[in-house]
Amino acid sequence: MSVLEVAGLRTHFFTRAGVVKAVDGVDFTLQRGEVMGLVGESGSGKTVTGFSILGLVDPPGRIVGGSIRYRGEELVGAPDERLRELRGNRIAMIFQDPMMTLNPVLRIDTQMVEAIQAHERVPKKAAWERARDGLGQVGIPSPEERLRAYPHQLSGGMRQRVTIAIAFLNAPELIIADEPTTALDVTIQAQIIYQAQKVCRERGAAMIWITHDLAVVAGLADRICVMYAGRIVEAGPTDDVIDRPLHPYTVGLLGSVPSANKRGQRLNQIPGMTPNMLALPKGCAFRERCARAGDACLAEPGITEPAAGRALRCFHPHGIEVPA
């Protein structure tokens, strides 16, 4: 049985300015131990997808349609208490910004022990020891000392390791890692990716690695889903997608992957601006930025399966000539 099946997920925000369709038709399936990369530009709906899975979408946002099945159990509309039981226990999330994730007025040990005790009746001492071992596993030196520290006493890299350790504390089956390395410098990025990957492999946990940097997931993920304006526009095995991208947006993303020596410089080879989520163009949302757009693209492209294991939303994919 798959760990997670997301089908037709739609999460909208009902703001004063209008409805933001942050997630508007997302489908994917995740097997045990599988690592999936969820890639897209800023604002494409990656984080909202993650929050939807955890049942943590706050007003004015709401899941308006679709289904999220964890081991076959429907989570959309599940009781709050059931979602709470799963959160941090079976499904854990690592947040985007390590500087803001930990509570500034609570010690690290408090924040770790409570994460264990929320799901299990464990004596405080046993929980504390588990927290200490957890810190050790993500490569934190002298964990006992760190446990007694407050978040502001740790560097950004340390803090992110702590949140990763928290995510792994209850040996979850699914981990959603939301760009856990963007705020950190390159060496620490690599270490953290290595550590997360290692713990994942050791425990057989499935992982969704969210990023806007295709290069990061290339060496990490088994499968890639490319997201644009709330939809998955292309999905497939990592090597296939990177070697033979079909969607013009994926091609653009690959073109904008910063090479090692130019890292940090923002390369935007995709023409045009990231879309205004309140006023998406009719038909294919990528149309206004797409060199291959034609009349057909005024309609909404449906999901097709151009090759085994691949999914696509595009009328004129790469590798197939634009009809005159």
Binding site: F51, M93, F95, V105, L106, Y150, H152
Partner: protein
Amino acid sequence: MTVFIIRRLLQAALVVLLMSLIVFFGVNVIGDPIDMLINPEADQAEIERAIKALGLDRPIGEQYLFFLKGVATGDFGRSFIFGEPALKLILHHMPATVELALTALILAILIGIPLGLFAGLYPDHPVSRAIMAGSILGFSLPTFWVGLMMIILFAVVLGWLPATGRGDTAVFLGIKSSAFTRDGLSHLAMPALNLALLKISLVIRLTRAGAREAMHQDYIKFARAKGLRTRRVIGVHLLKNIMIPVVTVLGLEFGNLLAFSVVTESIFAWPGMGKLLIESLLQLDRPVVVAYLMIIVVVFVIINLAVDILYSILDPRVRLREQGT
């Protein structure tokens, strides 16, 4: 921490000294106590004798030095009216005011924090709107008017509570207070609530603003993502962060409650320092006014120090900085 406290105490001493200058000369400008205190029909010799007795015949600079010397030994001079030492007079009235201010503070916390939290967590709930409307009233209605209305309603119309005075007191754990007797409590209820009204409104606003802001912080969402129960997310993660500004402001407000309970004490004839101050001011009882102001300055300085220490205990980020200095 010790270095910090010592430095603060030195600063405090300087502030007190400066204030003594301002207070002493300020009060001397207000009016001439001789006119107020001496029977106009008295003959010249009698007046001279009174002036000498009160020390009013010496140059003002000398009077100040004399006063400072007295202050150092706790002697603020004798009240022109009561003939008692000014300090003793004030200390005698202090417990009643402290009791009133403390009760008001506790009311502000017990009422203000839960209401503010509710309004912050459910901003669109009709109850929240009612709470916020109430807090606006609490801010804008004048204390004396609310006090009079309370007396009319609870004392005159309903007859539930006594209108004026401090009731019976009892001693409990070495503290003498009217909070330990039924009669005392019934006397305390109205003035304390009256005095607390503004602070309740303030605490509601602070708590609500804090809750609204903290609700959207990543650490709250992360706490929820860990699967913590709502009780813990709000009771620990949210509240601990909100308490930092609330405690700071309330601590400073406590000084205000002590110093400016004047209006409430006058309306409810509460025998505290505020009432004593008003009477002394009206009768130009200079030693009492000066002693009162000096004591209030000292109280403010102490409260400020206590708040700083409390703040550093609540906020670990501050704590570290202090250790560094």
